[in-house]
Amino acid sequence: MTENKKPKKEIIPVKNPMPAQDAQERARNFNEVALGYAEEIAVAEAKRCLDCKKQPCRQGCPVEVDIPAFLNLVAERDFDGAIKKIKEKNALPAVCGRVCPQESQCESYCTLGKKHDPVGVGRVERFCADWELQKGVITPSVEGSTGKNVAVIGSGPAGLTCAADLAKKGHKVTIFEALHVAGGVLMYGIPEFRLPKDVVQAEVENLKQLGVDIEVNSVVGKATTVDELLEEEGFDAVFIGTGAGLPYFMKIPGENACGVYSANEFLTRTNLMKGYKFPDWDTPIKIGSKVAVIGGGNVAMDAARTALRLGAAESWIIYRRSKEELPARAEEVEHAEEEGVKFDLLRSPVEIIADDNGWVTGLKCIKYELGEPDDSGRRRPVAIKGSEYTMDMDTVVIAIGQGPNPLVPRTTKGLELNKKGNITADLETGATSKPGVYAGGDVVTGAATVILAMGAGRKAANAIHEYLGSKK
């Protein structure tokens, strides 16, 4: 049997473009950039699926969504069926449809994509999720209560997914969130213009409909500990999904000058605290006219694009490798370029220069060239001696990565950590060195993507379900 024996479908080589706000206009507002497919376009895009037999796209999805099945349902205009199919595996489709790097996951395996554009899986997924949010969400059925209690620490993508899966299996889940609102990085990190906060809160609301309790303002590691949750507060298992919330700095002179932000501070002030609405909202964010963002990942792109929206005249990405090595999604780099973000590549700052009052006035950088490939397979950047130069800047955002927040690991007895402070956990089950305690997402892997964290939350939920079943 070969694929050829199936009735051949017409090949439509080009992906339907995503309608978007005009680049010049959107660079100055916080409204969502990508506007989403209209119904007709979503159906047309779904019909591009060849319905091939091997379904390679499915291996590219960390939460194992049955992609061909939901695309087929959309092609048949059964949107109810399509979203139901997606939600069998994915608790946050409106989020994933927007921020998953589909080009390196499902879409990278797409048969059509071998010669043409792959099917726009993420865009169709987003259409289905938005369609449901607009018409009102039907709560999926929940299995009968098992009488078991699970504590989930952190309400980011890993925690939300783990909580949703466990709740559907009949366990009582309580999420502990340190901030005043649930969502983790989806709320504080990813900007409104990429992921509207109303969309995140709608997904969180769906979770509450499954019976999940969310206790905000609860810092595990301070107000309570993992050990206390297990021993005193009646929880049968704990999932740790506390993410990578500890900002790295470069340890260069001038880093504590006024006008230097970690990307976390810059984005949290803007997104979570709505600094862009100051003074109607109370949290200020200060932006200069020339902003340098250090780093080349998605967080750096988010910060550089945010800077423009906050009113910066110039926003620069300073990255020590070349464009090819930028770790950010190609789409994000493209969006940033369209909006006018400038790139100074193969450069790295050596000093932040400040005036007598301590305010940033410039950035001293050194030029790099690419040498031999390093452990990551990328060519190692090598500094060019004597190539230092200074750029005038009045705001600097450090976006070189984040580590795990130590509050939970430090206060949990018998929890094994690696050298970087990440929790050591089985990547297939999330099991840690401590019985009944599971972990997943960035706190295990280091900073990665929303969908990988969700995949880890899913696997841990399965393992916790099994563990609870084996427990008397």
Binding site: T174, A178, L179, H180, Y188, D213, E215, V216, N217, S218, V219, K222, A223, T224, G245, L246, P247, F249, K251, E255, N256, C258, G259, Y261, S262, N264, E265, T268, R269, M273, K274, K277, F278, P279, D280, W281, D282, T283, P284, K286, N357, G358, N405, P406, L407
Partner: protein, 286 residues
């Protein structure tokens, strides 16, 4: 389980200094002297840190004392017993290091008198002889003299303008105590108050060679080590006040940097206050 953070009791010490007793059982269950909370009053509100002034584990309450300096503290001050604070999270930061040092001088300046109190009490309970110094700009701004007297074997009071007890700064009193007692008989100085007061105290004690602990009050957002907004150089190394502090060896603090970083949002804070004021000319708040 959802907690509401009800203001159970309000006391007005002066038109700008107020005390709240707040229902916050999770915080009260675990907090120790030296730790702080972060609160937010309403949906559009900012998150501000306040050091815990007292706690009652049985009643599940936290006491905070604050001075109205910005829009948020002004709005907070306008709240009454029976009102609810939207968000109230803690305990945050590391507790004070408490052991039997010997003789400890606890210095509280202005609204800093409040957080000094539970630390002085814990030091006394640990067997220390606790000498207290409290000071404020004037008599009206002084509070908790009675509470401090209960936990100190000796308590000295001073006002900048001499409107109460004596005229002078807390550093003047401290110098006199050290001269009287001998510096070898004082193990530790704890100073909490406005930055200029803590800096001046550290200047005095550095000359005298007296180890001094201060509690820093930086600008914060999350208070859990996530944003780094509160970072400060301590002995040349960058530390986060929220998770590494708030207490540090005062002689290691880069005071100039701390002051600069504390003023980053001064213009915005001023704008927020102006925006908050009623536009009709009555002089009241919106």
């Amino acid at each position: 389980m959802f907690f509401m953070f009800k203001i159970l009791q309000k006391r007005v010490f002066s038109p700008i200094i107020k005390e709240f007793v707040v229902e916050a059982p999770r915080v009260a269950k675990k907090c120790e002297p030296g730790q702080f909370v972060i609160l937010r009053i309403h949906e559009e509100g900012e998150r501000i840190p306040l050091t815990i002034a007292d706690f009652d584990r049985e009643k599940g309450t936290i006491t905070i004392v604050f001075q109205e300096v910005g829009k948020t503290t002004m709005q907070l001050g306008a709240m009454e017993a029976g009102d609810y604070i939207k968000d109230f999270v803690g305990p945050l930061g590391e507790p004070s290091h408490i052991e039997n040092f010997g003789t400890v001088v606890c210095v509280g300046g202005g609204v800093g008198i409040a957080p000094v109190h539970p630390i002085a009490r814990a030091l006394k309970e640990a067997g220390n002889e606790v000498i207290g110094i409290i000071g404020s700009r004037n008599k009206e701004l002084l509070f908790w003299e009675d509470k401090m007297r209960e936990v100190c074997s000796e308590l000295y009071v001073t006002t900048d303008d001499g409107s109460y007890v004596r005229q002078g700064f807390v550093t003047d009193v401290l110098k006199e105590i050290v001269a009287d007692r001998g510096k070898e008989n004082i193990a530790l100085v704890l100073a909490i108050g406005p930055q200029p007061m803590m800096k001046a105290t550290c200047g005095t004690t550095k000359e005298l060679g007296l180890k001094t602990v201060v509690s820093l009050n930086s600008v914060m957002v999350d208070g859990t080590g996530m944003c780094g907004c509160c970072r400060v150089s301590i002995g040349g190394e960058t530390k986060f006040v929220c998770v590494d502090g708030p207490e540090f060896d005062g002689h290691d603090v880069d005071w100039a940097e701390l002051t600069r970083r504390g003023s980053i949002f001064k213009q915005e804070e001023q704008r927020a206050i102006e925006n908050h004021k009623c536009q009709c000319g009555c002089g009241g708040d919106k």
